[in-house]
Amino acid sequence: MADGHEQMTIMGAGWRIMPRNWAARTGMTAFDRRERSAAWMLCAPTALLMLALLILPTLAVLALSFTDAELGVREFAFLGLDAYRDLFTDRAFLGAFRNTAVYVALVAPASVILGLILAMMIEAEVRGRAFFRSVYFLPVVSLTVAMASVWQYLMHPSFGPMNLVLKALGLPSVNWLGSSDNVLVALALIGIWQAVGFNLVLFLAGLTAINRDLYAAAEMDGVRSAWSRFWTVTWPMLGPTTLFVVTITMINAVKVFETVATLTQGGPSKASEVLLYTIYKEGFVYLHIGVASAMAIVFVGVLLVLLLIQTKVLEKQVHYS
C-alpha cells in the first residue's frame, strides 16, 4: 500500500542519518554511565571497608601463616609450606582438630534431629505452638558465657543439681567437666541445649510452608501411617530447610569458643582444646602469631570444605519445587 511504502522510506532515511551501530560504538548510553557512577558511589564506602577489614587482614593472615612470627619480636623467618607441615605433625594441633570433630559429631546430629522432632510435635499442636516455640528458643537469646556458668553450677560434681538428680534416681554421679573422658560430652550437652531452639524455629518455618494439599493428596492416594506421610511428603519437602539447618549447625559447632573459654580453658589435660581456643592461645597468650595464622587458615579451610561438601552432595538430593 502507498502508506506503508512511504513509512519505510522515512525510516530508512532516518537510519542513514544515525549510524546503526552508534550505541555499540560508544559502549554505553548516558543512562548507563549515570547508573554506573551512582553504583560506584553507593559501593565506595563499603568497598573501602572491605579492603581494610576483610581483604588486607585476610592477606596478612595468609602471609603470616608462612612465617614463625611472634608478637613483639622483630625478626621472623619465612618458613613457606614447612609452616603447614609442622602444624599437621604437631600433636597439640591434631588433638584440637580431633576434639573439635568429636564435639561437632556430638552436637550437630543431635541438635538437628531433636530440632526436627520437636518442630513436628509443636507443629501438630494448634494452641500451644507459640508458647513452646518461645520456651525452646530461650537458650538462643541467653548470654552464652552466662549460661555456661549456670551449667557449671548444674554440673558440679558434689552439689550440682544434675548429679543430685542422678543420685535421687539411684544412678552414679558423673564428673562432668572435671574428667577428660566426659568433658566433651558435657560441653556437647550445653551446645545441644543452646542449638535446639534455633533449629526448631527454622524447621517449624519449613514445616508450615509445606502445601497442605500435598498431605490431602497423600491421604487420597492411600498414605495412611504417620511414618509413610513423613517419608512421602514431609522429608522431601523439608529438603532445603534441612540443608540449611545442618550447614548452620555444623558451622556454629566448629566455631565453639565461649563455653570452652569460660569453663574448661581447654582442660582437663587438653581434652577440650578446640580449634578456636587453640588459635586464641597460640596467638594471644603465647603470642606465636605465625603459627596461629596458619591455624586460622586451616580453620577457614575446614569451614570451606564443610560448605562445599554440603552444597555439592546434598544439593543433588534436595528437591526445590
Binding site: E35, R36, A38, A39, W40, M41, L42, C43, P45, T46, A47, L49, L53, L54, P57, T58, A60, V61, L64, L71, M121, A124, E125, V126, R127, A130, S134, Y136, F137, L138, V141, S142, L143, V145, A146, M147, S149, V150, W151, Y153, L154, S158, F159, P161, L164, V165, A168, W193, V201, L202, A205, T241, I248, K255, E258, A261, T262, Y280, F284, A296
Partner: protein, 278 residues
C-alpha cells in the same frame, strides 16, 4: 480444620513437649534459685529450690559491685546498637547497587561478599589486633565497634531481599526525580524493614554474646562487655561463691530475654527470614 480433642496421641505429644520444655527451663530455674542462696545452702547439696536463708541481697550486691555491672551492661548495649546502625548504613546502599544496578565490578564485589561470609572474625583477628595495637585503639569502645562495621551478611541478606522488590517501585522513584542515594534511604529502607529488623536482631544477639574479640582487646573492667565482664567476675570471686555468680549471670542474661519476650514475633520472623534467604 477440626478442633483438637484430647486424644491419647495428643496427650503423649504434649507430655513429651512439656518434658522437653522442663529440661530447657531447668537451668534458669536453678539459676534463679541459687542466686537467692547463701554459700552454705549451695554447698548443702539439696535439690530444694527455695533457700533456707535468703541471701538475695548479699548475692546481688556482690554481683553489682564486684564488677561495675551496670556500666558493663551499658557498654554492651551501646556497642551493639552502634554496630547495628553502622552495619545497616554501610550495607544497605551497596546491597541496593548489587541488587538493582548494573555496573562493572558487580560480580567481583558479590564474589567478595561470598568470600567474606566464609571468613569469620576469628580468622582475621590477629592482623586486626596488630592494627589496633599500633593505632593505640586497644582498651577503647571504638575497637569493639570498628571491625564489625562491615557486615557481609547484611549485604547478602539485603541484596536477596531487595532483588525481590518490584523494579517498578524504583522506576517510579526515578521518574519522580529522586537520586539513587535518595532512593536507598527514602524508598528501599522503609520497604526493607522486615529484612532490616531481622538482621538487627541477628546482629545484636551475635555481638552481645561475643567473647573472643573483647577478650583479646579489652583488659580494663570499666570497658568490658557483658561476656567479658562475667569472666572478670569469675576470676574476681574468691572461691566458689556460686550464689553470687548466679546472681551475676541472672542480671546479665535478663536484658536480652526480656527484649525477646516483648518482641517474640520479631525474633522468630527474623530467624525464619534469614533461614529462607540463606
Amino acid at each position: 480444620m477440626t478442633l483438637q480433642t484430647l486424644s491419647f496421641s495428643r496427650v503423649l505429644r504434649l507430655g513429651l513437649l512439656a518434658l522437653g520444655a522442663a529440661i530447657i527451663v531447668f537451668p534458669y530455674v536453678f539459676m534463679l534459685s541459687a542466686s537467692l542462696k547463701p554459700p552454705e545452702d549451695v554447698f548443702s547439696a539439696s535439690l530444694s529450690l527455695w533457700p533456707q536463708h535468703l541471701a538475695a541481697y548479699e548475692n546481688f550486691t556482690k554481683a553489682l559491685t564486684r564488677i561495675p555491672m551496670l556500666r558493663i551492661l551499658f557498654n554492651g548495649a551501646l556497642v551493639c546498637v552502634v554496630i547495628v546502625v553502622f552495619q545497616i548504613v554501610f550495607a544497605l546502599p551497596a546491597a541496593y547497587a548489587l541488587a538493582k544496578l548494573n555496573f562493572p565490578g558487580r560480580g567481583l564485589l558479590f564474589g567478595l561478599v561470598m568470600l567474606g561470609l566464609l571468613v569469620p572474625i576469628h580468622a582475621i583477628s590477629i592482623p586486626l589486633y596488630a592494627a589496633a595495637q599500633i593505632s593505640s585503639l586497644l582498651n577503647t569502645l571504638a575497637v569493639l565497634i570498628i571491625p564489625f562495621i562491615l557486615s557481609v551478611f547484611a549485604m547478602f541478606l539485603f541484596r536477596q531481599f531487595i532483588k525481590a522488590m518490584p523494579d517498578e517501585l524504583i522506576h517510579a522513584a526515578r521518574m519522580d526525580g529522586l537520586s539513587e542515594t535518595a532512593i536507598v534511604w527514602r524508598i528501599i529502607l522503609p520497604n526493607a524493614w522486615p529484612a532490616a529488623s531481622a538482621f538487627a536482631i541477628f546482629s545484636v544477639v551475635a555481638h552481645w554474646n561475643d567473647l573472643y574479640w573483647p577478650l583479646i582487646t579489652i583488659s580494663k573492667t570499666q570497658l568490658a562487655t557483658p561476656p567479658l565482664g562475667l569472666l572478670f567476675f569469675r576470676s574476681a570471686e574468691v572461691g566458689d561463691d556460686y550464689g553470687a555468680l548466679m546472681a551475676a549471670t541472672l542480671i546479665v542474661t535478663l536484658p536480652l530475654i526480656l527484649f525477646f519476650l516483648f518482641a517474640q514475633r520479631l525474633f522468630i520472623e527474623g530467624v525464619t527470614m534469614t533461614g529462607l534467604k540463606g
